[in-house]
């Protein structure tokens, strides 16, 4: 190929890259963080981009911790999180951009506890779950099942689901050291589906392949299945808010409009499709 032609091709490639880079800046929203929220965030982004062609939204997962780290390093506009931000992370954000990040509750989630479909157990109390996941209860027969050791499946510690479960069900105690950690809720479900003696936990959105247990607050309370009613009115014991955090300086124009849309009726209708639970009316935008 002649020298001139080569040069021309190289120049046009550089120009193309430059142009795409330039266009990428305009109207681009980045959201990083929670794997629990990632499918919902992608659906929101898809629908919103369909209605507003000028806006480009980019969603990545990685865990709530990743989202906060990205918020602090200012490599993301929105941080999806399945747990509240911690004081140390707030401190890091203040050092990075001078203000506390604004917290928006975007939907509700019930953490389901999964067992293999062939497991005879149908319900457990919060105390029994505490004992199983922290290693005090080692055999299914101690909670009324078959005589077999319990295999505990957990999430990686970068996950907000892990931290929420540890804080609210284990009351801050450690998970049992022999808990096998899986990279995502789908992996936990798959592992439990393949293991007759397995037990795991995860967000309610990924619900196929194993069955979930009904949870009792204590031994005399009724066993509650996770469903929209029970999670929204708080009778299902393991529920939480899912959040989006944003740098207050960025919370205007397109980003603010997007956040308002998410928390309005249109955005909340999408929540039900994915399998999470929408905010009650009084908390909507």
């Amino acid at each position: 190929m002649t020298h001139m032609k080569k040069l021309l091709i190289q120049l046009s490639l550089i120009a193309a890259i430059g142009l795409t880079a330039a266009s990428a800046r305009a109207g681009q929203i980045t959201a990083k963080g929670s794997d629990t929220l990632v499918i919902l965030a992608q659906k929101w982004a898809e629908i919103y981009m369909g209605k507003n062609p000028g806006v480009k939204i980019q969603i990545t997962g990685g865990g709530s911790g990743t989202g906060f780290a990205a918020l602090q390093n200012q490599t993301t506009d929105l941080a999806n999180a399945s747990r509240k931000i911690k004081a140390k992370e707030i401190e890091a954000c203040i050092k990075a951009f001078g203000k506390r990040p604004t917290e928006y509750k975007v939907c509700l989630d019930g953490l389901s506890v999964y067992v293999n479909a062939e497991n005879a157990i149908k319900e457990l109390t919060l105390d029994q779950l505490d004992g199983i996941f922290s290693g005090k209860i080692k055999n299914w027969k101690e909670v009324g099942g078959q005589d077999a050791p319990i295999t505990v499946y957990s999430r990686e510690n970068s996950s907000g689901t892990y931290e929420f479960f540890k804080e609210h069900v284990l009351k801050g105690k450690d998970f049992v050291a022999s808990a096998q950690t899986m990279p995502g809720t789908a992996a936990v479900l798959q592992a439990v589906a393949k293991d007759k003696n397995g037990i795991g936990y995860g967000g309610a959105a990924y619900g196929a392949g194993a069955k979930h247990l009904a949870v009792k607050r204590d031994s005399v309370a009724p066993a509650i299945e996770p469903s929209e009613e029970t999670v929204v009115n708080g009778t299902y014991p393991i529920w939480r808010y899912l959040f989006i955090y944003v740098n207050p300086a960025l919370d205007k124009n397109e980003i603010a409009a997007y956040l308002n849309w998410i928390r309005g009726n249109e955005g909340q209708a999408v929540v039900k499709e994915i399998g999470y639970y929408p905010l009650p009316d009084r908390q909507r935008q």
């Binding site: 990685g62 203040i94 050092k95 203000k99 295999t151």
Partner: protein, 392 residues
Amino acid sequence: MTSNTNPMRRSVGWLGLKRGHQAHPVEWLAEKAIFLISLSAILMVFLIFVFVAREAWPVLRGQANSSLVRPVIPVEQMDQLSPQKLQDYLGLTPKQYALMDQETMKSLMEVKIEASKEVPDDKDARLNTVSWRYLARPYQWTGYDHPVSIWQPVSPVPKFNIIPLIIGSLKATLVALVFGVPLALGAAVYVSQLAAPRYREWLKPGIELLAGIPSVVLGFFALIVLASFFQGLFGYQSRLNAFVAGIALGLAIIPVVFSIAEDALTSVPRSYTQAALALGASRWQAAWQVVLPAALPGVFAAAVLGFGRAVGETMVVLMASGNASIVSWSLWDSTRTVTATIAAELAETVFGGNHYRILFLIGTLLFVVTFLSNWAGDVIVHRLKKRLEGKI
């Protein structure tokens, strides 16, 4: 290496590069350029080590403190503190301090007070869990009935003991070596010494094709197929464990060990084999008792390379080992390796925080282990060679 006797034409060269002829200027330039490029490769490896170790430096020197119980200063007293004390209390660099206004510093002080309220009611909260005592030795934490080595960095009281991770890496690597090296060696001996040439033609590239399998595909294969297969065969409890991960790792190192061992065996002079056969040895005897000992340096180097590859492999163990950080020498228990820990957890950590530094620390450890094993392997190969040549 003969030096030219004519003193006018001999050039010692820069940095002792002896050349037996007068250098053509372009040649000289090209030589220097290649020399610098090769030097830069070594420099880059050294720099990687420096940058990784730098992140872990405060923990290595014992200067990091993860104690949760810290003195708290009420917001009202902010003005009474000297700038230096305020910087130390808030953990600011002088540059950050200069850029901050009163409002921001006030909110930082409020956050510090909130953080102090989040401290768990635990006797271990005041411990410095990143000091070497808790990194390397077991301790009886609250809620445990005997001293244990626990890696649970995301916790009200973070626990950073690295012993379970090191044991996990060693277990998986050991299984990989025990499974992979004999297989690869056997294949190398067969392909280079015993196979008919027409089989050798497609066997050698066939086995080396295994090297082209991405490690994530191997990990996936182990997770879906191998794990169920072995659990059906042996009937143990944990579906994902050190054994499955080790076998998958073995599959990953077989092409590496095979390649190098086969090259070493083929480069043994034919005269050895011919002499052995002429004296009445069978092909098997010649291969096993004459050629293999002669190729021992190369074979050993292959094994060392296999070890380095196995200990540094990430995706396979991340997917197939179960990632449970327990101290156990049983192969049927789930295990957590150093590489999988770094891969899974680094994305989560706060930049510059204790967890982040500890992950870089174990990364440095991995680097040092691989480096030392390669170096020891080199020394041993050198000695074996010397012994073979009759110089020792």
